[in-house]
């Protein structure tokens, strides 16, 4: 029994130490090593035909903002080169009407109404891809508000024929809404400014996040198209593209503004979906990843660490319990315990999956230093994420054993301050979105935040 506890504690220590080292290397690489070609100089010079896909399910509060922002884009609105396909996926609110109003006014907007067939983002994207005409598919979630030049930045890397997908940077615009949004802002900064950039610079697998990004139609087809069965279609596609030898480019300059969860309950559902979808990808893609002839050894190693990232949460719980039991049993096991706790907390204790060093450095790079004072409070975010992910994975594995499928939970929107708890977004006073998000983005886009 004691041996099993000791082995659990040591295994936890070893795994967390590996993740800590990985994050430290990412941060040092981001800060001190030369960056890889980021294609931003090509922005505006390479203008392929693009189709912008906007999956929407009951998005009447935010639909207007994202459409207005895209129509304001400086990407050439030539017919045949630019189209917006908002996908009304089984909405029961006014989303469909809003889309039709826009379609009447703007020929670039070509809504797709889905009232039958499988629900969910991946299924909606699959349907939209079949009618899209663009060479490149650019994707945004409905609550995102793209800046004026974003499309050019996202389209530019596709000048490189090896690039299969491009990922931009996601920046929360509702940072001041609650403590949670402030903490998530820190976490996002570390995740994108440091971790994604370093992964791209090091030639590892930069993650395509399913929004604020684009995918080459031919690459998508070569990789097998959208997987409608996945709860994390973005991770699924990332892995399939990488396995098939396509490059995924990350463009830090391509910033897009999103609405992050403002309450812990909404955050819980979001993390749960991510954890289950991501771990499902682990089971589906681990073997092909390791066998892929297109990936280097270091890319495979990082791919494995990326796929296993949510498994660290139950490992931390198991390690903590084992250490407590060992302590009470008279084996204070001090050096290992010290190292385990320092390693696991240093790695994870200030967010979902970003080390405190990454977050602190990203805040300095972004030039928005005051928010770094909130860093210690992210311990709450860490504890919450660890518990939520552990429970989600217990649900996932019990579902696998019992043959249950897990439903898609839509993230609640707050654009109008609603919080009806049913996963739907409520309308503004005029029955549409109130344009608040769009106005915030317009104000922010005056001064670029980072290089």
């Amino acid at each position: 029994m004691l041996l099993a506890l000791e082995l659990t504690a040591l295994a936890s220590l070893l795994v967390m130490a590996v993740y800590t080292l990985r994050h430290l290397l990412f941060a040092l690489n981001r800060l001190f090593c030369p960056h890889r070609m980021n294609y931003t100089d090509l922005a505006g010079f390479h203008l392929p035909s693009i189709s912008i896909l906007l999956p929407m399910h009951n998005e009447e509060a935010v639909a207007q903002d994202v459409l207005e922002a895209l129509l304001e884009s400086d990407y050439p609105h030539d017919p045949g080169r630019f189209e917006i396909i908002p996908i009304n996926d089984h909405s029961t609110d006014r989303t469909g009407e809003i889309l039709d109003e826009y379609a009447e006014r703007c020929p670039d907007v070509k809504p797709l109404h889905r009232q039958g067939g499988k629900r969910g983002k991946a299924a909606a994207l699959k349907a939209a891809t079949s009618i899209a005409r663009g060479e490149i598919l650019i994707l945004f979630d409905a609550d995102y508000v793209p800046g004026k030049s974003l499309l050019k930045f996202l389209a530019a890397p596709f000048a490189d024929p090896e690039v299969g997908a491009v990922m931009g940077r996601v920046v929360p615009h509702n940072v001041g809404s609650s403590l949670l949004t402030r903490l998530l802002d820190l976490e996002r900064a570390g995740g994108y400014q440091i971790s994604q950039q370093a992964r791209y610079d090091l030639g590892l697998i930069a993650q395509y996040g399913g929004t604020t990004g684009g995918v080459r139609r031919t690459a998508l087809q070569a990789a097998g198209g959208w997987n409608a069965l996945s709860l994390a279609e973005d991770t699924d596609l990332t892995l399939r593209l990488a396995i098939h030898g396509w490059k995924i480019a990350y463009v830090n300059r391509a910033e897009c503004y999103e609405e992050v969860p403002a309450t812990w309950e909404v955050r819980r559902k979001q993390i749960e979906r991510w954890a289950i979808g991501h771990t499902d990808c682990l089971h589906r893609h681990l073997g092909p990843l390791l066998r892929s002839p297109h990936l280097s050894g270091k890319a495979k190693l990082d791919g494995v660490l990326l796929l296993c990232v949510y498994l660290t949460a139950p490992l931390i719980v198991a390690g903590s319990m084992a250490c407590m039991a060992l302590f009470v049993a008279g084996r204070s096991f001090l050096p290992a315990l010290t190292a385990f706790f320092l390693a696991s907390t240093c790695y994870n204790a200030v967010g979902n999956f970003a080390s405190f060093f990454e977050i602190g450095s990203s805040v300095i790079l972004d030039g928005a230093h005051r928010r770094v004072r909130l860093l210690p409070l992210n311990i709450g975010n860490f504890v919450f994420s660890t518990a939520t992910v552990s429970m989600a994975l217990a649900k996932y594995y019990s579902g696998r054993i019992l043959g249950r499928s897990l439903p898609w939970n839509k993230t609640l929107r707050y654009r109008n301050g609603n919080g009806n708890g049913n996963g739907n977004s409520g309308p503004g006073p005029n029955g549409h979105g109130n344009g608040r998000g769009l106005n915030i983005i317009r104000a922010k886009s005056v001064v670029p935040k980072s290089t």
Partner: protein
């Protein structure tokens, strides 16, 4: 540039220097630490005496304090009362508490539960005497004090700010670390004296390592904020 690689080398040199200094002065620091704990125990009206001299690090030993735990053999129901009260608080307050607090409370309950099981099924006393606990605590803290310069050097010394600012923050962090460690150890010994040893895992883990990490991050965040303000004033911040 806000970050400089040569500052990292500078940081590495300072790690070596500060750690050598800490190792050299460790017996004195531990004596001072012990003195601070004695004063705090006196304030808390906890009887103590000087105990055995125990080895903490290779070549470094210190005299531990001896106190008395509440004897659960005279109060056999106390551990169950404490665990039960914590469980009741958890159940009653579960819906009202902020979400991040719930897992933390669960950890407290897990610690109390594991210790309760041990006290009921294995032995009526925990396997550590007060001197043992002091030694475990001081050994952990001494290791941490030696780790603080590397942690801070890797994360903060790479910034392109004056060395005096970096050393100033490191000095403050170390000072705080010595003081806060003494306060927590005294609080732990006082709790064991009045409420018994069932609270030991909580003090060792939550009030030990977790709290250590929290103040390190807090100092790091304040130092980064100060450094960024300095950089902004010099107009060297990336925009």
């Amino acid at each position: 540039m806000p970050f400089r690689i040569d500052s990292l080398l500078q940081g590495l040199a300072i790690i070596v220097l500060v750690d050598v200094l800490l190792l050299w002065q460790m017996p004195g620091i531990l004596r001072w630490h012990s003195r601070a704990v004695e004063i705090l125990l006196r304030l808390a009206k906890v009887p103590w005496e000087l105990g055995r001299e125990m080895a903490l690090l290779p070549g470094i030993s210190a005299v531990m304090l001896r106190t008395v735990y509440l004897d659960y053999r005279a109060h056999p129901l106390y551990p169950a009362y404490f665990a039960g009260a914590a469980l009741a608080c958890f159940c009653i307050g579960y819906r009202r508490w902020p979400a991040p607090l719930k897992p933390m409370f669960f950890l407290l309950l897990a610690g109390l539960g594991i210790t309760l099981l041990y006290l009921r099924m294995v032995s009526p006393t925990v396997p550590y005497t007060p001197e043992d606990f002091c030694a475990i605590w001081c050994r952990g803290e001494a290791c941490l004090w030696l780790l603080l310069p590397p942690i801070f050097a890797m994360s903060f010394f790479i910034l392109n700010v004056p060395l005096s600012l970096k050393i100033g923050w490191l000095f403050l962090l170390l000072l705080y670390s010595f003081l806060w460690s003494a306060v927590r150890l005294a609080l732990a010994l006082a709790t064991f004296h009045y409420f018994g040893s069932i609270w030991m895992p909580f003090f060792y883990f939550a009030f030990g390592f977790l709290t250590d990490f929290l103040y390190i991050v807090a100092f790091y965040s304040l130092a980064m904020d100060g450094a960024a303000t300095f950089l902004a004033k010099r107009r060297e911040l990336w925009q």
